[in-house]
């Protein structure tokens, strides 16, 4: 067992993209704002918190001020948004393809199950945050058509908010392909989950954020905003990667995440760093009970244990109600 693990680990350690190498590449990218190699998409978003993404202070010099995590790196809080923006600007074009490749298509099952669990109706006002490519929004519209007699959409509406214009572009293009030409039932807005100033108080029935909340700098602010925009009786539902607690599958999942996913990102999307970040950010996200307590702290009522594990906890659906 010992020799086998050594033999297995040794060549892998020499692969490019170890943590040190990753940090080096990432910091170089940040300093010179190198354009993504493969992505012809629009440039990374510029945000008011950090108007010049080309020249953020290098991570090593930034011991002063509040810090947060970006993958396994510690960075000043105000940088995270820009860095995350860069990652998603890089991956936007190949985002859906990579989701399929990395999860073997299982993410579609998760999202289908997610929508069946939420079971919206023809009156539901849905806010999908960090849903740029529209994966959740289109499932919402399909579900409403399915449960409404006559197949209409009634007064149901989904508003997609994403901080990243590149991701929103992908979603808008798909909306046009699917025939949603006006904003009666589907609308795309550029906005920050931590400050949804476009959305009035108590105006939303259903707040979803799927695989997005771990990329936000202040999760507590996101939850507070969710509480603000939800109507009384509204539902917060967070679909997010979580922790696998099974002692047999845990190590396998670990190996897959840290060895295979970055390599696949390199192969399929030509972007190793972005996918390494995705995996690291998954590990940095709080485990199920901790996040459940964060939802409670934000004022939501949690029913039962408060989450549902999907595929042994690779992902989990967290639920809170504003009652």
């Amino acid at each position: 067992m010992w020799t086998a693990s050594r033999a297995l680990a040794f060549p892998l350690r020499r692969l490019p993209g170890t943590t040190a190498a990753r940090q080096f590449h990432a910091s170089v990218c940040v300093r010179h704002a190198a354009p993504p190699l493969t992505s012809p998409g629009p440039p990374p978003p510029v945000h008011e918190a950090n108007p010049d993404p080309a020249l953020p202070p290098p991570p090593s010099d930034s011991t002063a001020g509040p810090t947060t995590h970006f993958g396994f790196r510690t960075i000043p809080e105000h940088e995270k948004e820009t860095l995350v923006g860069k990652v998603f600007g890089n991956v936007a074009q190949s985002y859906d393809l990579m989701n399929d490749v990395m999860s073997g298509g299982v993410h579609r099952l998760w999202k289908d199950h997610y929508m069946r669990t939420l079971a919206p109706s023809s009156t539901t006002q849905h806010l999908d945050v960090a849903g740029g490519t529209g994966d959740i929004a289109f499932r919402f519209l399909d579900h409403v058509r399915g449960v409404t007699p006559g197949g209409g959409l009634g007064t149901a509406k989904v508003t997609v908010v994403d901080i990243n214009p590149a991701m929103l572009e992908v979603g808008k293009r798909r909306a046009l392909d699917l025939g949603y030409r006006d904003s009666t039932h589907l609308e795309f807005l550029e906005g920050n989950a931590e400050n949804l100033h476009q959305i009035p108080d108590a105006s939303v029935d259903l707040y979803t954020i799927a695989f997005g909340i771990r990329n936000c700098t202040h999760v507590d602010r996101v939850l507070a905003e969710a509480y603000r925009v939800l109507k009384p009786g509204g539902r917060l539902s967070v679909l997010e990667f979580s922790s696998v607690n099974n002692p047999l599958l845990g190590p396998l999942y670990e190996f897959y995440s840290f060895r295979i996913i970055p390599a696949m990102g390199d192969l399929v999307a030509g972007d190793r760093e972005s996918y390494a970040y995705l995996v690291e950010s998954i590990r940095k996200f709080p485990a199920q009970p901790v996040f459940r307590d964060m939802i409670k702290t934000a004022g939501f009522k949690v029913q039962g244990q408060g989450w549902e594990d999907l595929t042994f906890g690779v992902a989990a659906i967290h639920t809170g109600f504003k009652i």
């Binding site: 067992m1 010992w2 939420l118 109706s121 539901t124 029935d205 509204g234 539902r235 029913q303 109600f321």
Partner: protein, 280 residues
């Protein structure tokens, strides 16, 4: 030699902590393994209490009770069951009645099955409350069982058109534990109210037989078009009569079998074999 031993221990020594960790993880993953040691020396074995007043729902009564919001939502949703069935839509309509968005149905993550579960528990408790109003002491056991069955079935009457749907949902494998638990608790409650305090094999046979009677009557009721379910009550009487006959037959068969077994062991012991009936 020493060097060789060092190398061998270093090789042999390394995997050991890992294996231990894996074993510990496995043990943690298997809750059964924790209970293999049995009661400790301080356990008072002489003081075992056979509680004949035990009710089956006592073990489940400690489950987290339906929260107030859940109860409100379920009560509102039950009003929509006759039109919408045991569905998430009924729960959503109930939420709208309360002035909330339909997505509040998520308070019952199991949807229709959870609503049925709520209804079954509520009806059992209502039946118990109604029965306790009666003068149970003056009634015969069969009469008490019959009254309990009728009282409980009358609570299903408003939803009888949708009850076949409910039976279908309850029969789905993931919901089977829920429906069996509710059935078990219901028949146990009926026998308890009827004054049964048996603590032998009869406990099981009584409950099994009553479960059969109750479910078949319930099924008959879904097809009954007679006024006030007169035919259903007649059906119930016939089933209870059957059970009386069956119960007597079972008792006779048991006696007969016991006699046979005892005689067989008697023959064996007279030939010098040890048997469970030896009193020496």
């Amino acid at each position: 030699m020493l060097a060789f031993r060092r190398i061998s221990t270093s090789i042999a020594g390394r995997p050991a902590p890992r294996l231990n960790a894996v074993a510990a993880a496995c043990v943690r993953a298997l809750p059964i393994a924790r209970y293999t040691q049995g009661p400790g020396p301080e356990a008072n074995r002489g003081n075992i209490d056979y509680n004949v007043h035990y009710r089956a729902d006592e073990s489940t009564r400690n489950r987290p009770a339906a929260s107030q919001s859940q109860t409100q939502l379920a009560e509102a949703a039950l009003k929509h069951v006759p039109t919408m069935g045991w569905t998430v839509q009924a729960l959503g309509a109930g939420a709208v009645d309360l002035g909330y968005p339909t997505v509040l149905h998520g308070l019952f993550p199991g949807g229709g099955a959870d609503l049925i579960d709520y209804f079954l528990q509520k009806s059992k408790n209502e039946m118990r409350a109604e029965m306790e109003q009666l003068d149970l002491a003056s009634m015969k056991i069969t009469q008490k069982i019959r009254t309990a069955c009728i009282m409980r079935l009358k609570l299903t009457a408003p939803y009888i058109a949708r009850w076949p749907d409910a039976l279908g949902i309850m029969a789905q494998p993931p919901n089977a534990p829920m429906s069996l638990r509710n059935l078990g608790e219901l028949v146990d409650e009926m026998w308890y109210l009827a004054g049964d305090r048996s603590a032998d094999l009869n406990w099981y046979s009584k409950r099994t037989l009553l479960a059969g009677v109750y479910t078949s009557t319930e099924l008959y009721m879904t097809q009954d078009k007679s006024p006030d379910f007169q035919e259903t009550w007649k059906f119930l009487d016939r089933r209870l009569q059957d059970v009386g006959t069956l119960g007597r037959t079972t008792a006779e068969v048991t006696n007969y079998l016991q006699f046979g077994i005892r005689s067989a062991f008697g023959v064996l012991s007279s030939l010098g074999h040890k048997t469970p009936f030896d009193r020496r």
